[in-house]
């Protein structure tokens, strides 16, 4: 077993762990007793999807995926902030 094999197995195993995490987050979104639980699960879901995109970039050996990861990070933060602000004040931009 060469070191390249070890690396590709490690990428696959990490992808599997991230997949299980995504399923747990979706479970929490469906189950969540309150709206804040769902917001928190959505926040975790986009952070885990960033990990999945980075893994895809490593697997394909391409640097093109980083812009997508950065876009998801920014839009996810803005959406979490907007949802929390809406719950807190009943309005997003006052």
């Amino acid at each position: 077993m060469t070191s390249a094999d070890v690396l590709s197995y490690a990428i696959l195993v990490t992808g599997l762990l991230v997949l299980v995490s995504l399923l747990l987050n979706v479970w929490r979104i469906l189950l969540g007793p309150d709206i804040t639980d769902r917001i928190l699960a959505l926040d975790t879901l986009y952070i885990n999807s960033i990990a999945l995109i980075i893994l895809l970039g490593l697997y394909n050996g391409s640097a093109l995926y980083f812009e997508g990861a950065l876009l998801i990070a920014m839009l996810g933060f803005v959406s979490t902030a907007a949802l929390s602000k809406y719950l807190l004040r009943g309005d997003i931009i006052e």
Partner: protein, 131 residues
């Protein structure tokens, strides 16, 4: 063992560590008993896990393309700055909505006072001021 082997083993180790911490964060999100304890797991463990995955990607991309890959630093800095801010906003919204908390929560008698608190407006409205 040459440097390529060393790099591959190093990247594999960082990746497995990152996947483990991401899983721990999501497991905490799924299993912990109430919202305020659930807030801990994703904001800390998942941020550490994603930082480890980004370190692995940074090592790999820097060696492969030559030079220093700056994208991962930007992404991890952005995540490390925004995770506490969004956690604070969600906790504030949960206190405002009076989400049920565990019986053994410390200082739980302060929660109604905090949820009754109004966040101040950035600037006072001009019409209400006396001339």
């Amino acid at each position: 063992m040459d440097t390529t082997d060393l790099l591959n083993y190093l990247v594999a180790g960082w990746l497995i560590m990152g996947g483990f911490f991401v899983l721990v964060g999501s497991l905490g999100l799924a299993k912990l008993p109430d919202f305020f304890t659930r807030l801990h797991a994703p904001t800390k463990a998942t941020t550490l896990g994603i930082g480890s995955v980004l370190v692995a990607s940074m090592l790999m991309t820097s060696v492969r393309d030559g030079g220093f890959s700056v994208y991962e630093v930007v992404i991890s800095l952005f995540l490390f700055i925004t995770a506490p801010v969004s956690a604070h906003m969600m906790a504030k919204a949960a206190l405002h909505k009076r989400i049920a908390m565990l019986e053994r929560t410390g200082n739980r008698e302060m929660a109604p006072r905090i949820s009754a608190q109004q966040t101040p407006h950035p600037e006072p409205e001009a019409e209400d001021k006396p001339a």
